[in-house]
């Protein structure tokens, strides 16, 4: 039986260009639930994404611009998008260069609302 969180993630993976999405514990960098295409190292992405988010959250705090709400890393061949959820969980999506970032962000925010 599929875990409800995995079903929840499916609404993000349905977005065009998304290759995978995970729920990650922000403090530990461990995967809570994932829906990934083959070849994506979920554990590694989760650990590094959590570390990156922690550091960037310090930057926004130090800069007095408020809490980190959405993080998008555009690379040569794809995109990494992160939405911190209130419960100390991160919604992390990995996509290709064709990823519909706007729609993915909307769906990730919806997931973050549910897991709060």
């Amino acid at each position: 039986m599929t875990h409800p969180y995995v079903r929840l993630l499916d609404q993000v993976t349905r977005v065009g260009g998304v290759r995978g999405v995970m729920l990650v514990v922000a403090d530990d960098g461990l995967v809570v639930a994932e829906s990934l295409m083959e070849g994506i190292r979920g554990g590694a992405v989760a650990a590094l994404a959590a570390s990156l988010t922690r550091r960037l959250a310090m930057v926004t705090k130090t800069s007095a611009v408020g809490e980190l709400g959405f993080l998008q890393l555009q690379a040569e061949e794809g995109t990494l998008a992160i939405v911190p959820a209130p419960a100390g969980v991160l919604v992390v999506a990995v996509g290709g260069s064709d990823m519909n970032v706007g729609l993915a962000r909307l769906e990730m925010l919806r997931v973050a609302e549910v897991v709060r």
């Binding site: 530990d28 960098g29 461990l30 554990g43 989760a46 650990a47 590094l48 959590a50 570390s51 922690r54």
Partner: protein, 157 residues
């Protein structure tokens, strides 16, 4: 700056890389008997010896729990505190089974330590030499001399 010190030189490069990548505060590489092969971050011999003995004891006692559950052993375990976490992982090499005790702070995470522990284990497996067969009995005097040499290597004395 804290340094990595090793009794066995083949451990230094993988351990150095692990410490940099994982952000570990303290790291001990040892045998399941608590014999230390390398350390990073410790400044006092007594802390190394105590940590090695306690780490080996934890691994041994959780091994018994694993056997009660029908597992061969636990490959890794984690203790999480408010400021620090302790990760204890095991790996098999030609040098025999080794344990890695890692203390990490809030600037790292269990996920990062686990991630780079897997890399460390792979590198140690590749680098580990086949141990020489020891001839003759182990004498108390040899044991004390080797212990002193190990401590000197670990603390650069």
């Amino acid at each position: 700056m804290r340094r990595t010190r090793a009794v066995e030189a083949w451990t230094i490069e993988p351990l150095n890389r692990f410490v940099v990548e994982s952000g570990a505060r303290f790291t001990l590489l040892m045998t399941p008997a608590g014999q230390v092969l390398a350390q990073h971050g410790f400044t006092r011999a007594v802390d190394v010896m105590a940590s090695a003995a306690l780490g080996a004891a934890i691994f041994s006692s959780t091994g018994e729990i694993a056997r009660m559950l029908g597992e061969r052993e636990f490959r890794a375990l984690n203790h999480q505190g408010r400021q620090y976490g302790v990760f204890l992982g095991a790996l098999d090499t030609d040098r025999g089974k080794l344990l890695v005790l890692v203390v990490y702070g809030s600037d790292s995470s269990l996920g990062l330590v686990q991630l780079f522990f897997d890399d460390l284990a792979e590198q140690l497996v590749v680098a580990a030499p086949v141990p020489e067969v020891r001839r003759g009995p182990i004498l108390a005097a040899d044991f004390e001399r080797e212990l002193n040499e190990s401590l000197a290597s670990l603390f650069g004395r």
